[in-house]
Symmetry: C2
Subunit: 180 residues, 2 copies
């Protein structure tokens, strides 16, 4: 965490903003109810001024135990993580954490739909990669293989999403395929 | 928010702890994947010391836009809010917020399962009240009626959950009825 988490946060802003706008659009048109979870924070010290709002004076970023987004779409439980890279030809797997992978595995076991949305920032290419494929490359890494997925692997196993205006990242059209 | 939010937080600790333990148990035995969402915080100022973790120096509690808990159980999307009162004979509706009610309404519209778990702290009585019933009393209040639900109304429309050891608050046995 610390520095690294912050710089990830900054780099991630655009993808996160696009997804938040997309989710707001889905909510407004009655298509789905999907929200970003708040950033988990360990609160250590809070000040209570007499006539104004409580001020958190000391707190730390905690590692999330689940994923970024979840919600409901046509009765399906949806759960995903969003990540960006500035790499050109591969996506580093250290962007994910063990507990996120096991969370997604649990979700699938209980008939939810788990995936990641990844963006190659420099080329603005966005992909939805189902959990099963991510898990394949995660296991390859754990067994001593490469620490990333190539863009070609992502293209073969995932679904590209073209940037739109409204919604910006229409990932539910892809989820429609995963539900069936 | 501010003082009020904090005192709610303290009063709420036990119910929240019991529910967190229950959810951990459900996860451990492979019954469901349900988590509490982090407390939403508006971060204003962060310090980045050279060799240690980033410290949040100024932040404020934000009002949550959704509910406390969500997740997946047997393919169903589960979404609920947990609240306590020290009242003896009625449950004050100001414990809930408009946006929480509309969130739960949306969830039900998309075939998720929305409810509240409420506890009368002094008597340790716990009830699961489906969203539809909460909505009925919420509308009564909005139309000028009483600002609370009586315990009798909760007993008639909800399901009592007896405190157990493992899990502490076995609310999924009630959800089984709601699914069918
Ligand atoms: Mg992320
Ligand atoms: Mg609560």
């Amino acid at each position: 965490l610390q520095r690294e988490a912050i710089s990830h946060g900054k780099r991630g802003m655009t993808l996160e903003e696009d997804l938040n706008e997309t989710n707001q659009y889905y909510l407004d048109v009655g298509k789905a109810v999907i929200h970003k979870k708040p950033t988990p924070v360990q609160i250590v010290n809070v000040d209570y001024p007499k006539r104004s709002a409580a001020v958190i004076k000391e707190a730390y970023f905690k590692q999330a135990s689940t994923t970024d987004y979840n919600g409901v779409y046509q009765g399906f439980y949806i759960d995903f993580e969003a990540k960006e890279t500035r790499n050109k030809q591969s996506f580093p797997l250290q962007n994910f954490h063990d507990h996120q992978l096991s969370h997604m595995e649990q979700v699938e076991k209980h008939n939810g739909i788990a995936f990641v949305i990844i963006r190659f920032s420099l080329t603005e290419e966005i992909f939805l990669l189902p959990y099963q494929s991510l898990e394949k490359y995660w296991t390859r890494m754990k067994q001593g293989g490469r620490k990333s997925m190539t863009k070609e692997e992502i293209q073969q196993n995932g679904y590209q999403i073209s940037l739109g205006i409204q919604p910006r990242i229409d990932y539910l059209t892809i989820v429609d395929h995963l539900c069936k």
